[in-house]
């Protein structure tokens, strides 16, 4: 497994990028470091969504809920309980995965649009509870000024923390997708009937995929709290979920690293366009329409297509 990673021809490029990112805080301005860290958090979230959307073929419409649940879980652990601080960091993803298991258990009985809609309704239920439960979650104000362990209290140390966790998670995700489990998940996407015919329990694999993806979404939620030190109900709102969906599409959802690119483009544009105009969503909408019309496989998919002409299977996969 590790041999595969090291021997792949992209390894040098990827390692170079990570080394560059690692020394970044030494010379880059503070704001730039913050934006980079935000991109890491968002790309981990987009990657976790892509595990079920791009690789699992599920209409995971409300992925933001698990991100928010992870963030709220760690925020509540850090502010309301006297448990050791690092314990909260483990609780976040685990709670997200448990919620993912519960919601997923209901959803996998349905397919496609019905799946997505049921997930939106269950997710909105959680959003509504968080939004209204003032005594516990802070309602629509959220929770601000969450204390952090001193080790990751400064911006630079939290940057390194986020980057390291991101790298670990990416390697784990890669391994999971290349494992028999990941291959089976992708097979259920391509042809679920045939999978059932050869004796694969499709629903169970889909549920497994959801649990894994929601776990990583919870990790992203924890990292968000590390970076921002605040949580608010918008993290669980469906608009955010669709934005993550767009990131996957923008980067290229049949590629492994596409969502990272999508997240980077979206966050960077939001930051830099947001400086000049308040009509940021207008720009995002126009960009999305351009992508839909001209780059249906996303930016990454487009470039991969350039390097590998004649490989047409990618276009066919999305249909069915």
């Amino acid at each position: 497994m590790f041999k595969n990673i090291i021997h792949s021809k992209w390894f040098g490029v990827v390692a170079g990028i990570f080394i560059l990112l690692f020394i970044c805080p030494l010379f880059a301005p503070r704001f730039f470091v913050y934006i980079l860290a935000l991109i890491y958090v968002t790309s981990l979230l987009a990657m976790s969504l892509n595990m079920v959307v791009g690789h699992g073929g599920l209409f995971q419409f409300h992925h933001g809920v698990f991100y928010g649940v992870g963030a709220y879980a760690v925020a509540l652990m850090l502010t309301k309980s006297s448990m050791p601080m690092w314990f909260g960091f483990i609780v976040g993803p685990v709670v997200a995965a448990i919620i993912g298991l519960i919601i997923g258990w209901f959803c996998v009985r349905l397919t496609r649009l019905y799946f997505g809609m049921l997930q939106i309704s269950l997710g909105s239920l959680i959003w509504a509870i968080v939004f209204r439960w003032y005594n516990f979650t802070g309602g629509d104000d959220g929770i601000h000024g969450i204390p952090m362990p001193s080790l990751i209290a400064s911006l630079n140390s939290s940057y390194y923390f986020i980057l390291i966790i991101l790298v670990i998670c990416l390697i784990l995700m890669y391994m999971i997708l290349k494992s028999p489990f990941g291959n089976t998940l992708q097979a259920t996407r391509d042809n679920s009937q045939r999978c059932e015919a050869v004796g694969i329990n499709v629903k169970r694999y889909q549920l497994g995929g959801i649990v894994v993806a929601t776990f990583f979404a919870g990790v992203a939620g924890v990292l968000f709290v590390v970076l921002e030190r605040s949580v608010f109900p918008d993290l669980l709102f469906w608009v955010l979920s669709l934005e993550i969906f767009i990131m996957c599409l923008l980067g290229g959802w049949f590629t492994f690293a596409g969502p990272i690119l999508g997240a980077a483009i979206t966050v960077a544009l939001r930051t830099f366009v947001g400086r000049y105009t308040e009509y940021w969503t207008l720009i995002l909408g126009i960009m999305l329409i351009l992508v839909i019309f001209f780059l249906p496989e996303g930016v990454m998919g487009f470039f991969q297509g350039l390097f590998k002409p004649g490989k047409k299977e990618v276009t066919e996969r999305g249909k069915s």
Partner: protein, 293 residues
């Protein structure tokens, strides 16, 4: 807290009147979903445009007639906006994958939402009900706003109008046929692309009607589309995709659970409809009534 029967009945009627607005919007969404098979996320934004347009038109005509003019003009404006969006952009995408269409409607909602911000600004707006419908009447001693009574009367009228349209007119019948088997409709020599355009515009027109009707009851603000569209989706799902009567049943469930939630546990009032939806979906995963899919 104690409630007399009068309060309960009043709250029930408030719930029903709110359901009627939801029903009009959801019937449009459901119609588009049935014919084009696309959950139109921009539907909520068109509803918002309807409400903002009602505000502007009511202001333009001082006096009581403004609202009535707005009730006719604002939905037409929404229909025009949707026709342009459909003919310029959307109609080129019908061959594409479902998810792309869904994301396109999301992009459309983002763009239209920001255009509303550019045109009307980010402040709260409010429309006052026309003179005829101001004030309230008394039901068993509890007061009930006249405007809500008006909504309860309008809802069934719209339902009958939609039923007449889909069952008695030729274009309605064609669009119903296109919902069931679009290839067959195309084979019969009917221009399916225009059927889709008309269905889309009619659905969006209903969103505009809903927006115009809701304007006097709420404060009109950016973001009202986001809350509405999610409710509309859930209603359409629990009613059965593309089924107009399903949209009615779903709206009633949603509106009445919400209004009783307000009565019994105001803090968590918005949670009740979601719980109702979850219960319905657990019992009938494909909706209460038959879906046209």
């Amino acid at each position: 807290m104690t409630f007399g029967p009068a309060e309960l009945i009043c709250q029930l009627l408030v719930g029903i009147s709110r359901s009627m607005i939801l029903f009009i919007v959801c019937a449009g969404l459901s119609f588009v979903l049935g014919v084009l098979r696309i959950p139109n996320i921009a539907h909520g934004t068109l509803y918002m445009i309807g409400a903002f347009a009602t505000f502007s038109i009511t202001k333009m005509f001082a006096g009581s007639s403004g609202f009535w003019i707005a009730l006719i003009v604002a939905p037409l404006l929404v229909a025009v906006v949707s026709l342009i969006a459909e003919r310029v952009l959307f109609c080129h995408l019908y061959e594409r994958e479902h998810l792309m269409l869904l994301l396109f409607t999301f992009a459309l909602s983002l763009i239209l939402g920001d255009l509303v911000k550019i045109v009307w600004g980010a402040e709260y707006k409010s429309v006052s009900a026309p003179l005829l419908l101001k004030g309230s009447i008394s039901i068993l001693g509890a007061s009930f706003p006249r405007y809500n009574l008006f909504l309860i009367l309008v809802g069934p009228l719209v339902a009958i109008a939609i039923w007449l349209f889909t069952n008695k007119t030729k274009i309605g019948k064609i669009s119903r046929a296109a919902a069931v088997d679009r290839e067959m409709v195309g084979v019969l020599g009917i221009n399916v692309s225009w059927v889709f355009a008309i269905a889309f515009v009619i659905g969006c027109y209903l969103a505009g009607v809903g927006g115009a009707l809701v304007a006097p009851t709420v404060s009109i603000t950016l973001g009202m589309d986001h809350t509405l569209i999610i409710e509309a989706f859930l209603i359409v799902i629990i009613g059965g995709l593309g089924n107009m009567w399903g949209a009615l049943v779903g709206s009633l469930i949603f509106g009445i659970t919400h209004s009783f939630g307000v009565l019994f546990w105001p803090q968590f009032a918005i949670v009740f409809p979601y719980i109702a939806v979850v219960i319905v979906l657990l019992l009938r995963p494909k909706g209460l009534l038959k879906s046209v899919w």
